[in-house]
Amino acid sequence: MVIPVLFFLPLTLAVLSFLMRRPALDRYLVLLHAMGHLAGVAWMALEPCSWAGYFETDPPAVLVLALLAIVYLAVAVKRFLDERGMHHDGHEAWHSLQTTALMIFIGAMTAAALTNHAAMLWVFVEGTTLASAPLIYSSRTKTALEATWKYIFICSIGIALAFIGIILLMMGMEPGASLHFRDLEANAGKIDPFWLKFAFPFILVGFGTKAGFAPVHAWLPDAHSEAPSGISALLSATLLNTALLAVLRFGNILDAAGYGVFVRDALVVTGFLSLFVAAVYMLRVENYKRMLAYSSIENMGIMAIGFGLGGAGAVAAVLHMVAHSLVKGAFFLTAGDILHAWKRRDIAGAGGVLATWPRTGWVWLTAFVAISGLPPFAAFFSEIMLMSALLEAGYPVLLALFLLLLTVIIWGMGRGVLAVAMGPARPDLAGHRSSAIWPQVLLLGLAIAIVVAMPQPVETFFRDVAAILGVNGGQR
């Protein structure tokens, strides 16, 4: 019964918001949805359930949804606090449309994570693109228009390629065979290997476009920098996970058919390509929100490598997914606070945060420490685990490359982060009401707590997810 609630709650609230057109009410509706969503996901985590034959909970779905629920709640609470007393005169209809699109976006991601059917998965990933397009266009500026156009267009091409992949997969199947992932995996051996291998690159590139893998990441920095920061946080911390989940679910079919090595190689190459692209752009990026977007490409690359390696690498990737979502959510929300007061997106124009608003400045720096993989944050443990997995799998050269690229990325990013934090105070902004920081602090705290005090059930759960999603047949 929980699953239909998770679908119909956002739909009901979205319709309500659209009809009422009252921004003051929207704050409460979003908060209500976020709390309801978290409660529903918590329920599902404790009690596996299924609905209508097309939706069911499995550990990977619960993980992606739990991260979605936590980040969404943080975004909703932050919005609730920051929009207090804000007026939207003349923009009520647009504001309600934004709220409606946000709820449908969350609903589509939830459905994409929960579905157990290949075609349904495609439909809902497509739905996330359509629902999030108006969110990226939120500010209605010329640059937002450019970002939205690129987002819709590139993701539409990507999703069409994923569709071709699914069709090619169907060509290799017996007529009338079911498209449920469970059946696909069970009958993987009966699928014609030619079509199976032909289909996977299309699926990797198609869903990989949404997951932010290089070289099909072009929409990502634009969309992340132009969207309101709460939306950037959701795109980065939740949408990318959902798309990655889609790639891995199809990868599992090949894995079950005995072509794990093929999937492993594809994922590891994609991962390193993403790291490389992130490293190159990190050195020249001049906009701090775009800098965070390139960091997302980097982290998706790390996850791709981990899941591709399987075994311990997959456990590292699961932990990294958790670490990245929590920290990147906090990072984007803080970037939004800086943008809100400084009104500048470029690194050079946004100096002096630490001196002007010490608390926001410290959260900003802490988020950087957390994303760079320094202890005691979760990313430290996941990256160490991944490095040892690389070594164990017999890739010392790749390990060296990994360390080199990571160093370049941290150096490039550190430069930008420090330039924003340091510098003379801006007394003209000191009087500006500082935005709420505790949603970010909680996210960062969770990124420490999850590893420092990991309860046994959570550890078992992570291992379950890794065992399902990782490429098991890819071991030498």
Binding site: A119, L130, L145, E146, I152, A160, I167, L179, P221, S225
Partner: protein, 212 residues
């Protein structure tokens, strides 16, 4: 026999699209593709049950051949888009590349003849050629409207591909496909109206404010 002829005709329309420099000619070619796909559906009519058949006929004859072309015409008139297509490379080379891709499609047909069981190799080869040609046309043209047109040609290729696979999933697959085409074109059209009011010329060269 009719089916194979139609499939090759669809491949030929892509050559025409790659060679023309007029937007209206491309829209007309897309409309013709819709009609050809309709004939393709009719040729296979016995394979579908009534609901699927009605749905497929509406999708091809109404949506692809009439509604979307009319919608595009309206966007063009409303936004005063010039008629020239403005490619990055001369039309002749476009035609050359499109021909090579189509040739590759026939080669794929030849190669996959032994591998495929139950699927039509010709439909597979040509539809993949249509998709790749459409992608090529998208990257070699400047105007945003031609990108949308390329996207539609690509979706027509995907439609052909779906016609070549198992009948059992036709309905679900086509609902998804129609959703994709309809909403994407609608959204893109909506944003194109906005772009027309913010940018002087509607070409990708202008969408360069966001970069590193």
């Amino acid at each position: 026999m009719v089916g194979e002829f139609v499939i090759i005709m669809i491949g030929a329309t892509m050559l025409a699209i790659s060679f023309t420099s007029r937007i209206h000619a491309v829209i007309r070619a897309l409309s013709i593709q819709g009609l050809l796909l309709f004939v393709l559906v009719l040729d296979d009519a016995h394979a579908f049950d009534t609901i699927n058949l009605v749905f497929l006929i509406i999708e091809t004859l109404v949506v692809k051949a009439v509604v979307i072309p009319l919608f595009l015409q309206r966007i063009i008139v409303r936004n005063h888009i010039y008629r020239e297509i403005e490619p990055y490379i001369p039309n002749f080379y476009s035609l050359l590349v499109a021909s090579i891709i189509l040739g590759g499609g026939f080669l794929l047909e030849h190669l996959s003849r032994g591998v495929t069981s139950g699927t039509k190799p010709l439909a597979l080869g040509v539809s993949l050629a249509v998709i790749v040609t459409a992608l090529f046309l998208i990257i070699s043209r400047k105007k945003l409207i031609t990108h949308v047109l390329g996207f539609l040609a690509m979706e027509n290729g995907v439609f052909m591909l779906t016609m070549a696979v198992a009948r059992e999933h036709t309905f679900a697959v086509n609902v998804g496909l129609l959703l994709d085409v309809f909403l994407a074109v609608f959204l893109l059209g909506l944003f194109m109206n906005r772009i027309a009011s913010s940018y002087e010329e509607m070409s990708v060269d202008e969408l360069s404010d966001l970069k590193d």
